[in-house]
Symmetry: C2
Subunit: 212 residues, 2 copies
């Protein structure tokens, strides 16, 4: 069942093949349910090569989260949502972009590090922290645009740009769970639509708008 790497054929060394096998396998079936043998079979490498590269399943989990952070950072940095001149338009374009990439199998659009954090938060602080670095690191990339949009509209409310950026990630992570439970990607698009509407409403109100 060896399978060539799908996204970076030029990086087909054993380490990268194992990282990509871990990414695909864990998204499909979770971290705990995946064995070192599963990763090796999917990557087409020996167990000797696995332990030479990573030393342990936990170390692979950390490396897979780091690799996820690295590849998704590059993916989002190159995405078209940064193009609009208005920062609010960039934020809305980000949400539209996130909705647009919800297609195909559930394992193909859901989040490796959200899945792993859910499973190992109590058992592996090392993997948990690597997942947190990826999730919160991605959230941070949205903060300058949110901050700029707040300043452009004179919004200084109880919420911060950072907390809104983190809320975006919460909505996405939770919508992935509904899609998994309900076996339907439409739940993700529905929740992103609600989130987009929230952003539109937040930024359409004047300074110190309606608050509890």
């Amino acid at each position: 069942m060896a399978r060539p790497t799908k996204q970076f054929p030029e990086r087909g060394d054993a380490r990268t093949r194992l990282l990509e096998a871990a990414r695909d396998t864990i998204r499909r079936q979770g971290f705990a349910a995946s064995s070192v043998e599963d990763f090796c079979r999917e990557a087409g490498v020996t167990k000797g090569a696995f332990f030479h590269q990573f030393g342990s399943k936990e170390a692979l989990g950390v490396a897979a989260a780091d690799y996820w952070a690295e590849t998704t950072t590059a993916f989002f940095a190159a995405a078209p949502y940064h193009a609009p001149k208005d920062p609010l338009e960039r934020i809305l374009a980000y949400l539209d972009f996130r909705a647009g990439i919800i297609e195909g199998e559930i394992a193909e659009f859901t989040c490796l590090v959200g899945t792993m954090a859910q499973e190992v938060y109590g058992s592996s602080p090392a993997i948990r922290d690597a997942c947190a670095a990826s999730i919160f690191g991605h959230a941070k990339t949205l903060v300058p645009d949110i901050q700029a949009a707040m300043e452009a509209r004179g919004i200084a409310d109880a919420w911060t740009a950072e907390s809104l950026a983190q809320h975006f990630q919460a909505v996405l992570q939770g919508a992935f769970i509904l899609a998994k439970a309900g076996n339907d990607p439409a739940y993700v698009k529905e929740s992103i639509a609600h989130l987009r509407r929230y952003v539109e409403l937040l930024f359409s109100i004047p300074n110190k708008g309606k608050r509890k």
Copy 2:
């Protein structure tokens, strides 16, 4: 390590003890990482008793999701957020209630069925469907209040009461993941605050308010 049942001492039979042991163990460490031995040790019952009651680990997973649905349905039905006369106030009281029960250890306030759905959506349709029944069943309990609030304010927008109720669950599930990744329950309260603000804004706009 046998432990008495915590919440329903009057129901301390082997089956209930196993269901509560599964609930507590899976919330702490996930479904795949939990063994039948773990459940038996936590419940203080023999493996013979386990297999007599459930037959398989997967059957226990389904029963645990059903038990979760049953106990949380009773818990939320008895909660005080149903008291306000105005349906919008009941919706906001629901969110305040959800924020108010975020305390203690992460395993004590996070969601059994969200965790299980995340892990087994691809490997166990039976558990996945039992998790879906719990998540979407709970969402359905909010629909009449949302519908009544929409009608009271003449709101007939692109969103439906059902989709907003499901979005509530997405926000909660995703906020649990951020709390696990960041090892801080504050992420849940922050996301619920954003969700509450969204509801306030949604229902403060006139009929056919600002939409994309």
